[in-house]
Amino acid sequence: MKIAVCIKQVPSTSAPLQLDAGTRWLKEGETTFETNAADNHALEAALAIRDQLGGEVVVLTLGPERATEALREALAKGADRAIHLVSDQAPGLDPATVASLLASALAGEPWDLILCGLQSDDLGHGQTGAFLAEKLSLPQASIAAALEVTAEGQARVKRELEGGWYQWLELATPCLVTIQSGINKPRYAGMKGMLAAKKKPIVKQPVTEYPAGLTRQSIDELYYPHKAKQTRMLEGSPEAVATQLVAALNLRARP
């Protein structure tokens, strides 16, 4: 099974966000980065399938030089090799452009399975995987809460719908699946893995040409959300605050 996993390095979700109004992006120097959460689950799903069926897992990212770190971490967890599309423009590209560039990079090899995280924790469009499937004319299943692939090349995907509903889909490989967070428990990179990763290849391909007319979205303004509401803090004994709250919201027990 030849599996590609698209990953993205995003600002750490636990560190404060330092916006840069001038560049309409982040103060990169004051930001720590980590691998996007859903992408970690996509990688784990790929590694589990490879461990079961054999084959190789290739991680691919589009990002500035710093994004190599995310690839190295993936290699340390067990991915076999990595491709880095190096672009300083990457943070500002819209999903259509990102998917086109990823599609070009993937087009040269016969993939059985391409996995992407459902969405990124920075731009949060949730589009790249589906866009990529269309660009590569692959059948796709999205928001996978479970994924099984047989040696014969059949994929079964439990697709998450809303309101507690799910749906099983069956599709033949080659196909693309976007992975929901929480589908599995991503493994950690051990010391042995980190040492092994140093010997694994990371192919760097600088992005020199961008598909014309595709980056059509631009961030005109980036700002911290205005706090629209005043928080009214209720103080006093538990009984006093409970009474205040019931009165303020006119709460009633359901008959």
Partner: protein, 327 residues
């Protein structure tokens, strides 16, 4: 005719999805002609529900595969095919749809098919014509951006749940004209879908809840959830949770609110022992009224709350239950 707004809607078993109706209300609020399109098979209830709205036209755009393959089930390829045809033919100025789980499957592919860009999960817009900017959250809601779109073609935009209120949805004085079409798909389906299933003894649609009582790590043990449940039952509320609680298996994942769970915007959201990680806030902060009860005064949840109580939830919640029972 070209111009105006086309709203793509999704059906649910009992009619049209709430988020889709909100998208129609949003489009109505902008003014100008509004058409709605429902991809896939439509029953009479769904057709009637749409025709009753103050819209200019209802398009029921089904598709079929050779020899009846894949009949009735969701099929992304079918959706993309009928929607691409309709957008090309109608040439609207703007295309809106709810940023639902379903939309995340077919809307990016629709954009790719039409060589358009998709601005997703928007919470509003400013300006008009070429100067229009769409507002969207970034970095899990920690920042907000105004996004402009360059180039020709309709603006394709998906909308976050709660972008408009259902109460603002306008009904028409006479039924809107309804057209039914069916597109013949050229090849066999690529994806075989089974009937949707629900897990667990009782499944919940948090997006439909008017009141939600949500618990976080501060609830400490699975046994303590009974306390939150008692409050929820008294209020006629649904029980929800942060990721930490669902990861522990104390509540099923369908009750998880946040970036890897449901996005909700109920009239009242009561957060018990939830610190308010960004991943949680992004899923609930557009709720109409938010009450936070947490022992840590510096918890981020208080920044989005309308009413805050710094205190021990194991004292405050029983007091709240007592006050409700006495009221």
């Amino acid at each position: 005719m070209s111009g105006g707004i086309l709203v793509i809607v999704e059906s649910v078993a009992e009619g049209i999805s709430r988020a889709s109706l909100e998208a129609i209300a949003y489009a109505q609020g902008l003014g100008g002609p509004v058409k709605v399109i429902l991809p896939g098979a439509a029953n009479q209830t769904q057709a009637d529900a749409l025709a009753a709205l103050a819209v200019d036209e209802v398009l029921l755009a089904d598709y079929s595969y050779p020899e009846g393959a894949g009949a009735g089930g969701y099929d992304g390829d079918g959706y993309v095919a009928v929607l691409a045809e309709a957008v090309r033919r109608l040439a609207p100025d703007q295309v809106f749809l709810a940023h639902s789980y379903g939309a995340r499957d077919f809307a990016p592919r629709l954009a790719a098919r039409l060589d358009l860009t998709l601005v997703s999960d928007c919470i509003g817009q400013e300006g008009e014509g070429d100067a229009v900017a769409f507002l969207r959250q970034m970095f899990l809601g920690r920042a907000q951006a105004k996004v402009k779109v360059a180039g020709e073609g309709p603006r394709l935009v998906s909308l976050q749940a709660g972008v408009a209120r259902l109460e603002d949805l306008r009904r028409g004085s006479t039924p809107a004209p309804v057209s039914r079409t069916s597109l013949a798909m050229p090849a066999a389906p690529r994806v075989a879908a089974q009937a949707p299933l629900r897990e667990g003894e009782r499944s919940v649609d948090l997006s439909q809840a008017r009141i939600i009582v949500a618990v976080g790590r501060g609830i400490k043990t699975q046994e303590n959830i009974a306390l939150a449940k008692k409050l929820a039952d008294l209020l006629g509320a649904e029980l929800a949770a942060s990721r930490a609680v669902c990861d522990e298996g104390w509540l099923p994942i369908e009750r998880q609110v946040g970036s890897s769970g449901q996005t909700v915007a109920p009239a009242l959201y009561i957060a018990l022992g939830i610190s308010g990680a960004v991943q949680h806030l992004v899923g609930m902060k557009t709720s109409e009224t938010i009450v936070a009860i947490n022992k840590d005064a510096s918890a981020p949840i208080f920044k989005v709350a309308d009413y805050g109580i710094v205190g021990d939830l194991f004292q405050v919640v029983p007091a709240l239950i007592a006050a409700l029972e006495a009221a």
